[in-house]
Symmetry: C2
Subunit: 347 residues, 2 copies
DNA sequence: CTGAAAGCGCTAACAC
DNA sequence: GTGTTAGCGCTTTCAG
């Protein structure tokens, strides 16, 4: 447990502490010879700089913090429903951090908290990260983002457009809903239902827009009675499905704003004498792990979560070296994964 | 962005820095009056101690590291299959850490790595955590644990018994397999198949033992041709199912060592003209999120992952205050979740 | 190109 | 009870 410090390396190599520091951090102005000697000493002693000391001495902490909604996250964990967003975010961000010698710390703060700002500032004070990744719904909290920007905290907003307020890394939800709806129209559907997502999330409105865009382009009149509200829960999906399917002229296809609600449609369909995809096609958003196992497996829009997280981390790490991130949006491609829940309407 | 340090608080309250430190850390020997003054100053200034500085000055880092297998974890992420173990581990450990003012850092190291020890030591050197949570397969690597213990790193081994080598937090896999098998026997099954898990994991052998225990207690002779090997993958489950179901006298029930392989049995059954649970009952291990969605939903043994992680964190945090953790095992209760995949055998 | 010295914000040890 | 001092291991600044 004898700790190896930079001083030990310096002695071993017969150089000054600062020289070791230069070598370890890849700084210029070291002769080949000294560099070799230091590297050999580092190797021999198994030296690894202490993160804490680096933070104390220098201006960087080699750490990024990702902020997630506490309630949502814990709910997902507790219900045993899994947590695809968290998984994919870790996937993307951790690996990117790793490849740059950074660490990713993942923190939970309740988005509905009264003293949200205070809590976030407390995290920043304690951790002093080199950057902050905000996920929905935090990432759409303009007041929060503004406060952070005012404090010069490097921030990337994930899952939403930055609209000039900081940098955003996201997919085009509107285009995705458009493409999903077009897929249904191409199959021959004319009455296409839509189950909206929670208004707490900006993506919900974008998805509705995309749905309407596609109707318009397909020459189909908007029928508001084909649009049902939802809040991303299974229960709300059940209710929306009942509303839509009990109409006199029910839709032959439904676009649900997330997987959970689409699964609810699958669940509700038999009660209305509908088989999927025979009598009813279903498309969902998110492509979470479970939907491969449903019967039928769901056709779904895949969000590039790990890619967004990876990009977010990359931008922040670059910024910690080269100065402020440019306040622009990075739009990453989504995918339409066609599985068994979509088919032409019954003749 | 003006950083608030302990010195600012000391000035504001008109006391010495050490007094602030005492108050913030809940140490004794401070009068009511001074304590109040300091607390008010802390509140007013929004002071939060810097983790890095705490680590530098003191003997604690207020941080725990959880070590997971890199390959497994990344595979699960990439395949979009979800990662229940990681989710539940974070759930348990993070919340426990949070409630004690600790942080949880989650690290990936390839268990098959040639220089595993070196990599782990590098993590410890960089982070200097107050404790290390080992998960399978790292937690069963005796050499690794021994190295860690030699270096006086506080360690908790998750998912496996400690056998006196450090502290273990786990469930009783043997008893769980026993109970699952008994459930099948109680339903009236006499020919019960078993699909083993990968030998890389110690739990696999324990599960086989439990299966055999139950057969013995139920007065059923062991029939080795009812035991098929597996490695926790869907493919291996498919192969095992084929082997078992193509016998002249196929089993009427199968106990699979994890969900993935059980889902494979569900998938294979129709090919052999079997319906589940009519002709074939299936029980699995792990109770991951997806199996609620399979048809039928799987009866499964639930591992108390979040509880184990929570306990592990608790032990480590206690140890960082009160000295070494006692080298004993903590056995947490599992659950048998009965769903739709088990029923009495066809008459 | 290299090195010496001065902190970073905190706590441990010790004095008062 | 309370305050003072001396580091922790690094990087920053500034001399050489």
């Amino acid at each position: 447990m004898t700790k190896v410090t930079i001083r030990h390396v310096a002695e071993e190599a017969g150089v000054a502490v600062k020289t070791v520091s230069r070598v370890v951090n890849g700084e210029p102005n070291v002769t080949r010879d000294l560099r070799d000697r230091v590297e050999r000493a580092v190797e021999k002693l198994g030296y690894v700089p202490s993160m804490a000391a680096r933070r104390m001495g220098g201006s960087r902490s080699y750490m990024l913090v990702a902020l997630n909604d506490r309630r949502n996250t814990i709910n997902n964990w507790q219900s045993g429903r899994g947590n695809d967003w968290i998984d994919q975010m870790l996937h993307g961000a951790m690996l990117m951090c790793e490849s740059h010698g950074y660490r990713m710390l993942f923190e939970l703060v309740d988005a509905a908290s009264q003293d949200l700002d205070r809590r976030v500032v407390a995290i920043l004070s304690a951790l002093q990260p080199d950057g902050l990744i905000l996920t929905p719904p935090h990432s759409q909290n303009e007041a929060l983002v503004q406060m952070l920007l005012r404090r010069n905290v490097p921030v990337v907003r994930m899952g939403v457009p930055g609209h000039g307020l900081g940098v955003g890394v996201h997919m085009d939800d509107r285009a995705a809903a458009f493409e999903a709806t077009c897929h249904l129209i191409d199959l021959g559907h004319r009455r296409i239902g839509f189950i909206a997502g929670s208004e707490r999330f900006a993506a919900s409105e974008a998805r509705r827009r995309g749905y309407l865009d596609a109707l318009a382009q397909g020459g189909l009149a908007r029928d508001e009675s084909l649009e049902a509200p939802g809040d991303f829960t299974f229960e709300s999906g059940l209710e929306a499905a009942s509303t839509l399917l009990s109409r006199d002229t029910p839709p032959t296809a439904i676009l649900a704003s997330n997987d959970e609600m689409a699964l609810a449609v699958l669940h509700a369909a038999p009660r209305f004498g509908k088989t999927v995809p025979g009598d009813l096609s279903v498309i969902s958003f998110d492509d979470t792990p479970g939907i491969r196992l449903s019967v039928p497996a769901l056709t779904s829009i895949r969000q590039p979560i790990s890619e967004m997280a990876s990009r977010a981390a990359e931008l922040l790490i670059a910024a910690s070296r080269d100065g402020p991130v440019e306040a622009k949006d990075h739009i990453l491609p989504f995918g339409l994964i066609v599985r068994g829940s979509t088919a032409p309407p019954a003749a």
